[in-house]
Each structure stands twice: as C-alpha cells, then as structure tokens.
Symmetry: C2
Subunit: 309 residues, 2 copies
C-alpha cells in the first residue's frame, strides 16, 4: 500500500492528504438542513450531514489528491450512526481511487491491538466467513504501550500489504510535555523514531516501509532530525494551515528524492469556504472552495520543495 | 461518578471490575450458533453473539460487582454492528446499575479529544437537540499527547461528573520500552503519574479525584510507588488473573482506607468456563462459571487486603 500511495503521489504531483474531519460547525447550513429534514435533528441526521458534506468535497477534489485522512473521532462522537458515516466515507473514497488513512490513533496491549488491526486494516473471521470491516489502507497508531502494542499492526500490514503511521512527535502545543523529555540525552520522540525505523525495517515496500510516522508541521526542526533517524519511513505531517505550519517549514520533512512525506490539511481544505480568501465561492459552493484550497496548498508545497536547495 | 463508584465498591465489598472483552473464541458454540442462525455468519451475527454472551454474564454477576469494563476494540473489530453491540452492552449494564468504564484508550490533539470526550462521556449538539451517544461513566485515556489532549476530557468530567483513567504504566510485557525510561532520574510513568495527580487536583469528588490511572497488576512494585505519587487517584488495575497478577501483588495498589484501587479481570471471568477449575459448569452454564470466578476473585483480593498489615 505504501507503493500505491507513492505511485498516487507521483501521478498527482501532490504530496498532500485532505483531512476529512467534519465538525458540524464546518458544514454549511443548507447541508445540515437537508439532512435534518430527512432524519430529524438526530444522530442519524448529523451522520447524514457529515456524509453529504464529505461526498461533495471528495467529488470536487479526488482527481487532485492521492489520499484522504478521516479522523474517526469526528464520526465516533455521533455514536453508531457516526461510525456508519465513517465507514461510508472510507468506502466511497476507496471507490474514487483514493488511499484512505484512518486517523484512529489506536494502541493497546497485544491481543487488543490485534483486534483493532483486524477491524481496521485486516480481516475478521465469523464462523466460516471472513470480513474486512472498515478496510482503511493505513491507520495511525499510538506507541505508548511499546512494541507488543504495535506488533499486531505490523503483522497485519505484512499480510494485507497495508500500512501504519506511528505517532512520534504530534502537532499540538503540549506535545513536548512527554515527547520532548530527554532520556540518556535524547528526546523521547527520537527513541520512538528509532523504534519506527526498527519496526519498519522488517516491512519494506519498494523504497519505503509500510511503517511510517506522524510528525507535526509545527515542529520543523524536529522534522529535520527525525527525517534522518527514519530514512525509510513515510512521514505523515499534520498541522499545516489552520494549526500554523507553512509550506516552507515542510521542506525538510521530505527526502532528497522529493518523497518521504505527505502533508495533511483538514480545516484548511474542508472549511475553506469560511476563510476570507475563498469567501467568494459562498457556502453553496463549499466544494469548489475546497478545490481551490487544495490547488493553493499543492502550489505552496511544490514551491517549497523546488526552492529548498 | 467517582463517588458513585466508591459507594458501589463499599456496597458490594468488591473492588473489582469485570472486563467485557468478548473475543469470539470465548463465546460458547451454542451462543454463536444461535446468533448465526438468526443473522448468518455475518458481522451482525458476530455482534449478536457478543451481545447475548455479555448479557448472560452480566445477568449472572451484576449483584456481586460494582463495575464492568467493556474493551471497545473487541466490538470495533466487527465494524458498525460491533459498535452497536458495544452501545447495547453499555446501556444494559447501566440499566443493571453497574458503573461502566469504557476501555477506549483514546487521546488526540485538543479539538479531537474534545470530540471523543463528548461522544463517550459527554453530550453532542445536533441542531437544537442534545444527545449522549455512548454514555459511559468512565473512559481510559492515552497521555502521549500531553495536557492539551487530556484537558477536553477533564472539562467534560467536571461538567458531567464523569471520570477518566489515564494510562500510566500498562500491564503488557513491553510497557517498559518507553514508560520505564529515565528522565532526570525518574521513569516516564512517574512523570505521567505526577501529571495525573495535577490534572486530578482540579476535579475532586468527596475523597478521590475524577481522574484515575491505569497501572498494571503485573508490576506491583511500581504500583506501590505510584500509589504514593497519586494519593487521590483511583487506580484501575488490569492484568489480574490471565495476565499473571495475583491478589497478594495488589495490596499496595490500595490506600490504607482499603479504597483507591479497582482490579480488572477479563478472560479470567468471562471465559471462566474454559478453565480447569470451573469446567464442571460446562459451556451451557458459562454464566455460572463466571459467577464462581467472580466470587473467587473477590475472596482472593479481600484476603490480600486483610492480611497486608
């Protein structure tokens, strides 16, 4: 799957991923009203609004981008109907040829991580039948429990040719509280980065590993250091745009081959119509605003990559 | 909710929690067959088998125990129908008067943690209506992202009088890989424990905080140290029984008031009928085997608490 992701990045020339994190606040009133007219102001209504919103954005951007990253929390908050909207979104994006990164940040003891891995990127057995319940292509994984919480994901990655992105240095302001603390002179995120390289060595695609890492755009110097520690790991970079990261901060997350990183923007793309810059589209045409935001983001990152030497 | 948990622990005299982690392997053939006869060998069939299995165990044990801890991974692995079975289980346990600890180990950047908190222990707004989608009483939280990943849970805990258990030292063999690493001479789990005490100080029930901690039964010496660092935190102790922890290892997880800890057993209770010791019940009477296992566990832990001085 890492090979397919890279192929799609080369095809589109866009090392970016659209974060499908649909807070209800982002969804234009007319989309919400239509959903509530059909399902009422219920969890089902919220889920329908999310789904219709996502579908429009995907329809307007899928030809420009290699991948999407639905953040499951934004669906899970609406209970069972929300999870059904997550599944519907994953299926639709796959139909459109997009690589789907499930931002689930799961991680638990061995047998439990095995269940998450089976459900999200693998298969479960029910009697004599076999199912792939969520069928994302990649998921994000929390490393706090150590190797035996990650190993079950690795096993499924190898069997099913799927991938994971392990949280190494997250984009949020207090990520340093534990992740930056020095252990034998090295920050914890470097130790986790070394483990990512080790875990990934046994699960290689053509040039990059099935095991990638999450490193926030908001910490460009750390990105530079981690790039060297995990040369074969694809880096998923959140925090671009709304969280403060800019294209020029991102150049060092990439390898010299121009590959090795994929930059996520969520609010900056899906709620583009709310920004001054794209306001002329109007809420009715929110999908077109998202398309324009994607085009601008691609130009910003291409520019940063071209001018880095 | 911490006050209600403590009240229930005093009422039952049982500082234990039954882990409802229903792997299909644990579910007797007759329960699976009945579910598959109705729904086929489908995800819905698996979800129905899980639900029927849980219901029987809850019916046979709810009067002995204060709380249950469904591990959401075991439901999530069966996709949307699995999540529906999780919700059904939570609702049923609450109807039976049990405190429900959702073992979800979520944790993300602020806005995303806010969505998890709203969905699991809080409320979401849909138009003019308000819903509590999953409505657990407590959830487990992963601290890797630092304070701003935990704060949204704290906020909801205070508003809704719910609680969280933050992963401090997990029960799995490789938990030490990161959690035990020394930072300024102190292991990371101690730093996290200090943060738990700090987060919890602003969210106090009568004697204990809404903010508890997860510390594995498999590391009794660490439990003793953490008990002192977080005197007001309830400790949720996994790893008893099948994972190797024994009652005598657990005494120091408790405070001198005999409170302060609640010990989880999952497989040891729900798959008791598979153990030599309870085999006489037979698979048909798996619920009775679970009841006997609960009674034995209560006796083991009471004995350990009584003989500790």
């Amino acid at each position: 799957m890492i090979d397919r992701l890279i192929e799609k990045i080369k095809e589109t020339g866009a090392p970016i991923v659209a974060g499908l994190d649909p807070m209800l606040d982002y969804i234009p009133a007319h989309v919400q009203e239509r959903a509530f007219a059909e399902y009422g102001e219920t969890l089902e209504g919220a889920a329908e609004a999310i789904w219709q919103f996502n579908k429009e954005i995907v329809d307007k951007t899928y030809d420009l981008i290699p991948a999407v990253k639905p953040q499951i929390a934004m669906y899970e908050q609406f209970g069972v109907p929300g999870i059904a909207a997550f599944k519907k979104t994953v299926d639709y994006c796959r139909e459109k040829g997009l690589v789907v990164i499930g931002d689930i940040k799961r991680g638990d003891i061995g047998s439990t991580s095995a269940a998450y891995a089976a459900g999200h990127i693998g298969k479960v057995q029910v009697g004599s039948k076999c199912y792939a319940p969520f069928q994302e292509d990649f998921v994000t994984v929390n490393p706090y429990l150590g190797s035996d919480g990650v190993d079950p994901f690795l096993k499924v990655c190898k069997e099913e040719k799927r991938g994971i992105f392990v949280l190494v240095k997250t984009s949020n302001p207090s990520s340093g509280e534990f992740q930056d603390r020095l252990i034998d002179g090295k920050p914890l995120y470097e130790l986790v980065g070394e483990k990512v390289a080790e875990w990934g060595a046994g699960a290689m695609g053509d040039a990059y590993s099935y095991v990638g890492a999450v490193v926030g755009a908001t910490y460009p110097e750390i990105g530079k250091a981690l790039r060297k520690i995990m040369p074969k790991a694809y880096i998923l970079v959140p925090g671009y745009g709304a969280q403060g990261g800019k294209g020029k901060d991102l150049a060092h997350f990439f390898n010299e081959d121009g590959l090795g990183a994929i930059v996520n923007s969520s609010r900056g793309i899906i709620a583009a119509y709310k920004q001054e810059r794209y306001r002329q589209f109007g809420a009715e045409n929110f999908g077109d605003a998202s398309r324009a935001a994607v085009e601008d983001m691609i130009a910003d990152i291409r520019g940063a990559l071209e001018s880095r030497y």
